[in-house]
């Protein structure tokens, strides 16, 4: 469902390829033993290697390699058992070595693909060009001193996976879906926490426009796009900018542009002519990276069920619709929670309670599922109470609110507050009789054809029973007595 731009000369297609930098979830850096924990005080997690002291040498962290392979498998990609680390040379104060160790001609992961889910319920496949491992740079701080810049090397040398997509994405909506899906997959795999606010996941977006069916247009690379929302806004802005230039008779210059979130615009950073010559060459401090296919196979054995597989299984084994299934698989913890609730219970009812009630109230309170005061076991218990007619669905909502407040078990709340449903026909019949006796006018009107008044009688009975009367029994008795 390509998003088209209406220009003065007709419709334009937006063509997008993304480069996502994902920080590898791992204890220590790609080539040193320093910690990677986020939020430590500046320059407190810097080894001699990270600071590029004279004579220091990189040693590859095997765990990072494993995570990259795991990610490649999750992206249905070809794993290259031979890959090479190369040096990308440039000068900047937050790059202590004067080069970044990256992969260039021989990345660890080759072509793959992922499915993205679009809002209209359709599914599209986006090609993955490659994934490679590289070092992150440190951080330059320009706002700490009126005339000086400070450098924090904590991030210097942290492992990044650069995941490059094919230019298969058409428009902001698809880009957002791609980024969300990619993040979901990484989180399922446990290879990146996907936290864009902390910079654990960053995106560069390549945007070009063309008339549908034409050759690819000249692209601009947009940097510093650090949320799904920003990606959408940047694409909208940039594609319109390009269309305007072309329609005004101009042409697009290949360049790198920066997204300014405050002004909501992209602006030129450097032109193609100013682009660096990085002088890539194989890092002579590191041997080519080689491993056995059997090791890849072992890692494959430990792969969790991935979002798409899980979605299809939820639809098939639980009979859920696409929407419910998509919502439930959006986070691995959420899917696990649902499955605990649905275990041996009515799955649709479980999905309904998780999505509409629990996620709703959590969202309203600004809480994550991980902070939920109601455990999956407790929510399951509540559904059991409905299923065996101990309480009605309506009472259940009150019990649920109480559970959310207090964290107590549903059975205890029902017991404590005497909310147990009345199914004793005799007791309900007495109330029904009472209501009929008290409302002769309405009885007469109902009998003369005003069917809608039936609800009034049900409401009165429920009110008198404080909501505890079994609705089915109430219905039966009322129908019998009013006819």
């Amino acid at each position: 469902m390509a998003q088209l731009i209406q220009g003065n000369t007709g419709e334009w297609e937006i063509v997008i390829g993304m480069e996502v930098h994902a920080q590898v979830t791992v204890q220590s850096k790609l080539f040193s033993g320093a910690s990677t924990e986020f939020g430590a005080s500046p320059n407190s997690q810097v080894s001699l290697v990270d600071a590029a002291m004279p004579g220091m040498l990189p040693v590859l962290n095997e765990k990072c390699v494993e995570q990259a392979v795991r990610t490649g498998l999750g992206l249905n990609a070809k794993i290259n058992t031979y890959s090479v680390f190369e040096r990308k040379n440039y000068f900047y104060p937050d790059l202590p070595q004067g080069y970044q160790i990256s992969q260039f001609l021989h990345p660890i992961v080759g072509t793959g693909e992922i499915e993205i889910d679009l809002p209209d319920g359709s599914v599209k496949t986006i090609g993955i060009t490659r994934l490679h491992l590289e070092q992150d740079a440190g951080k330059s701080l320009h706002d700490q001193h009126p005339s000086k810049s400070f450098v924090d090397l904590n991030r210097s040398g942290c492992a990044l996976m650069e995941i490059v997509s094919e230019p298969d994405i058409r428009g902001a909506e698809e880009a957002a879906a791609y980024l969300s899906k990619l993040r979901m997959i990484l989180q399922y795999l446990g290879t990146c926490n996907g936290n864009m606010e902390e910079g654990s996941m960053r995106a560069d977006v390549n945007v070009s426009v063309r008339k549908p069916g034409d050759e690819l247009g000249t692209r601009c690379e947009i940097k510093n796009v650090n949320s799904v929302k920003a990606v959408q806004m940047a694409i909208d802005y940039e594609s319109r900018r390009q269309v305007e230039i072309i329609e005004d008779g101009g042409s697009i210059k290949q360049e790198t542009r920066l997204w300014d979130p405050n002004k909501g615009e992209t602006r030129s950073m450097r032109s193609k002519e100013e682009a660096h010559d990085y002088r890539y060459f194989p890092d002579p401090d590191l041997l080519p990276l080689e491993f056995e296919q059997s090791w890849v196979d072992e890692i494959k054995q430990t792969l969790p069920e991935l979002p798409d597989e899980k979605k299809h299984r939820f639809m098939q084994s639980y009979g859920l619709g696409t929407y419910d299934a998509s919502v439930l698989i959006a986070a691995r913890a959420r899917a696990d929670y649902f499955e605990s609730v649905a275990n041996d219970r009515d799955a649709k009812m479980a999905a309904n309670w998780v999505i509409n009630e629990l996620l709703g109230v959590l969202n309203k309170n600004g809480k994550e599922l991980e902070d939920s005061p109601i455990s999956a076991e407790q929510l399951g218990g509540l559904i059991d109470l409905i299923a065996d007619d101990t309480i009605s669905g309506k009472i259940a909502k009150d019990v649920f609110a109480d559970m959310f407040e207090t964290g107590k078990d549903p059975a205890a709340i029902v017991e404590e507050k005497g909310l147990k449903q009345v199914t004793d026909t005799g007791a309900i019949e007495a109330i029904v009789d009472e209501v009929i006796a008290e409302n002769p006018d309405n009885v007469e009107q109902y009998r003369s054809g005003k069917d809608k008044l039936f609800g009034f009688f049900v409401g009165q009975v429920m009110k008198k029973s404080q909501g505890k009367a079994n609705p089915a029994v109430v219905n039966d008795l009322l129908k019998k007595k009013l006819s």
């Binding site: 004279p54 004579g55 040498l57 004067g98 002088r279 060459f281």
Partner: protein, 495 residues
Amino acid sequence: MTELTHMTVAQALKGLENKDFSAVELTQAHIDAMANYRHLNAFIVETPDLAMDQAKASDERRAKGEAGALDGIPLAIKDLFCTKGVQTTASSKILEGFVPRYDSTVTARLFRDGAVMLGKTALDEFAMGSSNTTSYFGNVINPWKRSDGSNADLVPGGSSGGSSAALAARICMGATGTDTGGSIRQPASFCGITGIKPTYGRCSRWGVVAFASSLDQPGIFGRSVEDTAIMLKSMSGFDPKDSTSADRDVPDWAGQLGGDLKGMKIGIPKEYRMDGMPEEIEKLWQQGIAWAKESGAEIVDVSLPHTKYALPTYYIIAPAEASSNLARYDGVRYGLRVEGQDLTDTYESTRAEGFGDEVKRRIMIGTYVLSAGYYDAYYIKAQKVRRLILQDFEKAYEQCDALLTPTAPSAAFAIGENEDDPIKMYLNDVFTVPASLAGLPGMSVPAGLSADGLPLGLQIIGKAWDELTVLKVGQAIERAANFSALPEMVTKKAA
């Protein structure tokens, strides 16, 4: 006490064990020699106090029966090895005043075995040179003089020229070096001492200021083949901190020396017979071949057809790696910083002032050969030729166990000679560079004197990981040559 400075390491270890003298006495004698020969400018930093502390500790260990393999032996350390608490400069202004908080793996291992450090020796800046004239801290003077009475100061060779001069002048009993294209073997030849570069990966490069990572290899200068074998053992071995270091056992080389060369085949590569090579070098080579034969070796003519491409290949690969390795000297974190108008100006001013001409030349060559559009024609091609050079050696070793060649095409030259022509200077390494490109072990043994009375060395190149054969052949040459000449300034003092 002068005789204390004229022993081999093997003799000194015996003397210490027999209590003929103490480590303190041995060290003091060498500290005195260091002061006597200060005009040679072999040291950038002298560490006599540290040396005496280490010597005292050594005597205490020996008294308790806990002496290590090199306990109490005073060594000079090339100023390319980082030494904890002692300035390490690579002979460059850009690192002047830099004091590491860590010891290189090699020096840490030497200290672990009880070695005493007298100081840090000068080198060509960042080990780039064959004459020691590119050091920011001034030329090192070779203790040898020509016998023609000219009294010209000669170069000690390079890049490890401070180490070779110090050992030749009897200032130390052994000295570390590093060899990228001949930086141990050529100065050993120029100074009349023995020097070995082991197989690439034998000694850890961790903590050694990098010049060209795929070629750099620590090694050692000694007064005898046996001494180099003893010291090399202490320095060698797998280091998990260096991904290119080899996880291999380190043999007891010294314990296996002493035999003849019976059953061994020595290859003579015809391509090393170069046009315009001085007669005396050719003669010395023939003499070496005769000695090997006398010791029982069979002489085999072999061919290393790609030899002529070795120097050009080396002068693409080494500068390429250096241009990247030296990027870290940017004035941001340590060493020299020349404040500029802005960041770029600071970078440019720092590096313009911090690096000497030869270093700048190689950074420019290296940057050029890695640039877009030139990379394939230069760097990739050089890598292919490098593989062919390695294959040449592998083929040759199907016919023989080791190769015997001259170490350098000339004896030591005067300071200032060759300075105007970098290419002529680069030719110094013509015989040593091929083995460096192939990562093979090589050693230079003093074998005779030139017509001018200057020492000349012969080179032995071995198979990868077969330092033992190299040392055995070296020792056979050593025994036959019986090289006992000393620089005049040393014999005068001794008399």
